[in-house]
Symmetry: C2
Subunit: 485 residues, 2 copies
């Protein structure tokens, strides 16, 4: 029996594998559009993105979030209102300066994120604690003039799938409760997509510009680098003060409400691709696969037999569609079955159904799993149910595989050297005891040659006796370091 | 019995009514965002927009269109490639000139439309007639530095709901066939939304910049002005030549393929609102209403009776949801029933269900139609079916009402004076015989004091003996004129 496809290219040269897979599977055209850091979602990729967004929207809508759509352009004076915020983003904002042949009076920023424009409008919309909590979100393009090397779907200048949520609360505590809710929503999103993660509280020096603190989700790429895939910020009153946004509080006072914001991006799709792929291409979890079952007729040369196979194929496809599956029949005549197998494997369709004369005559289907390449033959009458069961099995074995890969890439050690070897060897994320001081954190980045992701969330007590390997002070937390994208 | 709500404000001061309704019904916040011509889709408006887009996407997907997503930014040299095109758009393009603190080497346009960027990428994707026809579409923001007065959802500088389709064909004829398909798709969209229209071939001097010809859909606003709500362009080979985009043709030659493009915008939602509204606010067709049934408990002061009403309300809402309806229960305690009626009428929810003690005790529901305000009482057990029937009736009477309003606003006359009175009196669209010459067409605009919309599509033969009222030559077509937005 065939084993699952190898993951040699996938792990040994991940960036190249990733470029190859998004091109071959026609997900995202990158590198040819004549603006650096911007690419095109192609039809198949767009459908994956759409299904992923359905998961995201479904979870947000069912927890009382309301979708809105704000303008792309933010006038300079608005973006500058909160000083930490503009300091954080100033270096990477795109500016519109001209309309037609005229120079604009006010420069307009392409939104790098929308705290400022949304807070500004909230001052008109929200007057009383009675309207709170208020949870808005939008799915939009954001723009960052990245100076680092850009990468398709991972580090873009136009992030085309930015889901940003913005919430308003009557107290610090309620905003903190919202942070927890946001974390639960994100856990549910990544769990649904079978993407493993660690949750860290980002260090002070790496929190969102304008936030009290930032909680982040990181996953691990096949090459051992960490990828930030979601962030949740407690904004405190930074923006409500900057915009003098005040509401009537429960005790009749007028005061500035509290806010949170949280976002996920194209990287959700990027990590879906990265985490599950193999050397043959994409492996898409059945729940979000645009096509769950591809049906490939293998037609004999004989005209009559050919007709028999095609008739049976149509009948089988109809039965599978009736069973509620997303089915595509690949009946391209000029393409050989082998080429079709290759094509749909690259696209990561979870189930391939092969129909030849034997199947047509015996009223069966030959079914191949994309993840393991295992084949079985089932009676047509049972096919809908069998495929449904198989898809559940595929989901669970994909989850297990991703989890075990991820688990092997977490190291907890008290030794700086071990941590350094781990991180430099691209083996994943290392955790070491930390005294809590920024100076030691920054020095660890130097010594380990990686980036601090932060400390575990929820907070974990550190066992007695653990010490910061740099200064020797008692450790207050484990701190995570990794190579990152 | 109550008649339907008046349409006094709706027709006598439509622009003001429109501003009022989108604010009161919380559809679109306009005029407060600090960039001219840009507004915010609020949660309720966003849900209407979402349902409308579902109709649009459904019809495009089922006719073989593939959704994609292209970058917002188009480098100057790309936008300038087709000379007619840039001439048409140059005056209204927004330009990004800076990234961070640096000036960009190449100015980047905010897309005013995407023919140039899409054609550019098609040169990589499409190599052979075998891949044709190819039909892409995307739903994106486009930007136009409008110098005319801006209006919410009707004339914006950021058009946030631009559905643009772009297709490629192996021949002029196949592109023409695509124009017909696009027209059928748009007819289906507007029919579904109960929006009446005329279809005109735009005159040469008003076609899309770069097109061979443009077919347009216009509807009529309550104040008698025409509103363009959709356009379809046969692009010929303008863009494929400009980009030297060549493919292998059926006869082995390499040649430039043919293209079409077609778009609808925020104006689809604007016309949905305008066409169906009345002095109480929105009237949304049940098929696209975010909430189809709002349930309002009318609670007596007595605690026990109150409990009875609320329990029954929950039971009724559950039954209606089970019947597949989109239901919302307004159980806000601090708001009086009258205020709730007013609130949901403004939001245009098709059906209101009132539940008081009588209904709770008799196992019935009192049902009010938004369009006519008629009330009936039905047994709870039949409510799902009855509401379903009622919604079908509402759709058909809304369609009839819109059609009859529209029909009364079309005038065919041979007299320039009558046409002028009609158009100047804001009574709608006038049709007069036309010799086909641009000079007469332009003079008619002067004389009638309106804008030429074009000639009827499909082409209509003009009866013998009709003459152009300006030059006296035999008429070749009726030409439509109106005040426009």
């Amino acid at each position: 029996m065939l084993g699952p496809p190898s993951r040699e290219k996938w792990s040994s040269d991940f960036p190249r594998w990733f470029d190859w897979v998004i091109e071959t599977a026609e997900v995202y055209d990158y590198g040819r559009y004549p603006v650096k850091g911007m690419g095109v979602w192609m039809p198949y990729g767009f459908q994956i993105r759409r299904r992923v967004l359905e998961v995201v929207r479904g979870l947000l809508d069912s927890t009382g979030h309301e979708e809105v759509l704000f303008p792309l352009l933010i006038p300079e004076h608005l973006l500058r209102r909160e000083s930490e915020h503009i300091r954080g983003f100033e270096g990477e904002v795109y500016w519109v300066t001209h309309g037609g042949r005229e120079e604009l009076d006010v420069k307009l920023a392409l939104r790098p994120t929308s705290e400022t424009s949304i807070t500004y409008m909230e001052t008109f919309w929200i007057k009383s604690y009675r309207q709170l909590p208020k949870k808005y979100y939008q799915v939009v393009s954001i723009f960052r003039y990245e100076t680092k090397a850009t990468r398709p779907m991972i580090r873009l200048r136009e992030v085309t799938t930015f889901k940003e949520a913005h919430t308003v609360h009557e107290s610090f505590e309620d905003a903190e409760r919202q942070v927890l809710e946001a974390i639960e929503v994100y856990k549910a999103i990544f769990d649904r997509l079978l993407i493993p993660y660690v949750i860290s509280k980002r260090p002070e020096w790496d929190k969102f510009a304008g936030a009290l603190y930032t909680i982040a989700f990181d996953t691990i790429m096949p090459d051992g680098r960490a990828l930030q895939i979601g962030t949740v910020h407690h904004l405190g009153q930074s923006f409500t003060r900057a915009f003098d946004f005040r509401i009537q509080m429960r005790d009749e006072r007028l005061d500035h409400p509290w806010q949170t914001s949280y976002g996920v991006s194209d990287r959700v799709v990027a990590s879906l691709i990265a985490v599950h792929g193999d050397d043959r291409g994409l492996v898409i979890p059945p729940s979000v696969a645009p096509i769950q079952v591809v049906v490939i007729p293998i037609t004999p040369g004989d005209e009559e037999k050919r007709g028999k196979v095609l008739t049976y194929t149509a009948k089988a496809a109809e039965a599978l569609e009736k069973a509620g599956l997303r089915v595509h029949v690949d009946d391209r005549e000029w393409e050989r079955p082998g080429a079709k197998f290759y094509y749909w494997e690259a696209k990561g369709v979870p189930i391939r159904v092969e129909i030849g004369l034997r199947e047509a005559e015996q009223d069966t289907l030959t079914i191949a799993r994309r993840d393991t390449l295992e084949k079985t033959e089932v009676p047509l009458g049972e096919a809908g149910n069998r495929i449904r069961e198989l898809m559940a099995q595929i989901e669970s074995s994909m989850r297990e595989r991703a989890k075990s890969f991820f688990g092997e890439r977490l190291l907890r050690t008290e030794s700086l050297e071990e941590a350094r070897d781990w991180v430099e060897g691209r083996r994943g994320i290392a955790e070491i005891p930390w005294c809590g001081r920024e100076s030691c954190g920054l020095e660890m980045e130097e010594r380990v040659n990686g980036k601090v992701l932060g400390t575990p969330w929820p907070e974990e007590p550190v066992e007695e006796g653990k010490r910061c390997p740099l200064c020797g002070r008692p450790a207050v937390a484990w701190i995570r370091l990794a190579k990152t994208y």
